[in-house]
Subunit: 182 residues, 2 copies
DNA sequence: AGGCGCATGTAAGCCGTTACATGATTCC
DNA sequence: GGAATCATGTAACGGCTTACATGCGCCT
């Protein structure tokens, strides 16, 4: 059974065959919004997936001292992905550094607390704008309405991202008022 | 400089001095909503914090073959916590297994997809109810209105949790409609 | 007598980050 | 000539999980 990173890579490769380098870049946007990985983690994982016959590669022309390898999922790889998607997900522990920080906000001076919250809020606004721009592109795309198309899944996860960010921005706006008012 | 776990422990101890065992239990609720740790991680971290003079312990009566230690933050520990809270938080990579799964939902049959989303939605509803119950308790507490009191920070983080869960539940409800309608 | 809760620790191993290492092609 | 981009790998280290290990006091 692949690791979570393995399923993330299978999800990427099922959308488009890629080199390891390309996968690393694609891990920024849009997958990077909820999953990230560095190339140093991706290359060994691709090797593991290949040894399990879930992906395969062909050598293509490219730069560099080594061969450039384009990976694709195998039929078994696509099956493994489809099986994993519907397995009952055990609730995994959440970790949120931002909230951990705000949970100790009572130790800070109100002025500094307000500055911190403003910074965090701006960061979420920027992320929200990025999500909205990507979602806008998909809205006109008919493939994003097809439940069996990757773009459908891209659209629904982006929709979730937009809603989550909006809720967070509203919360932080409320929080600024709580800090500011006596 | 302590690790993030170290700041989580300092945040707990600043609210109430505790044994390592007690800290492990408190890591379920309410800190556990955004940060978790097992006792096997907590005991070594307490030792590290103590060697940095950020916490100290007194031996108290208790069960077990070893001495029972009650830890408290030192003045330096409280200062370290207060300093950390307002340092500019670099945006750290997000990881969300649920969203990663839904991002590959296009590979699943609509019926199975709907079942999965229903399960996840129920889980968020349960969590939302727990947050709301805790928040309700704090609403009547005047200390939760005092910006310098730990309960203030507990209240604002719970408020964020409630808002985030509500947004997620609304999203998943929307998603069920998207999957269900032809 | 047995089970549960309190209480503290260590060890093995996985996952992930940062840093080290190499080298070709393309653009300025 | 130099910098950026493409491209693939390895090594060291820290964080976290799972499992191992021990044993007292209380309740049934």
């Amino acid at each position: 059974m692949p690791s979570l990173l393995g399923y993330a890579l299978l999800g990427l490769l099922a959308r488009r065959p890629s080199t390891g380098y390309d996968l690393a870049r694609r891990m920024d946007r849009p997958v990077g919004y909820f999953w990230t990985a560095r190339h140093s983690q991706i290359y060994p994982e691709l090797a593991r997936l290949e040894s399990s016959a879930l992906v395969e590669h062909v050598d293509i022309d490219g730069a560099g001292p080594r061969q450039t390898k384009r990976y694709s999922p195998t039929a078994a790889g696509l099956r493994a992905l489809a099986d994993w998607v519907i397995t009952d997900p055990e609730p995994q522990p959440e970790r949120d550094v931002e909230v951990l920080r705000l949970w100790s906000l009572w130790t800070a001076e109100p002025a500094q607390a307000a500055a911190l919250v403003t910074t965090i809020r701006q960061r979420h606004l920027n992320r929200l704008a990025a999500y909205e721009a990507e979602l806008a592109e998909l809205q006109d795309d008919p493939t994003a309405r097809d439940r069996g198309h990757p773009n459908f899944a891209s659209r629904i996860t982006l929709e979730g991202g937009v809603r989550a960010r909006r809720a967070t921005v509203e919360w932080l706006t409320w929080l600024l008022d709580e800090i500011g008012s006596p």
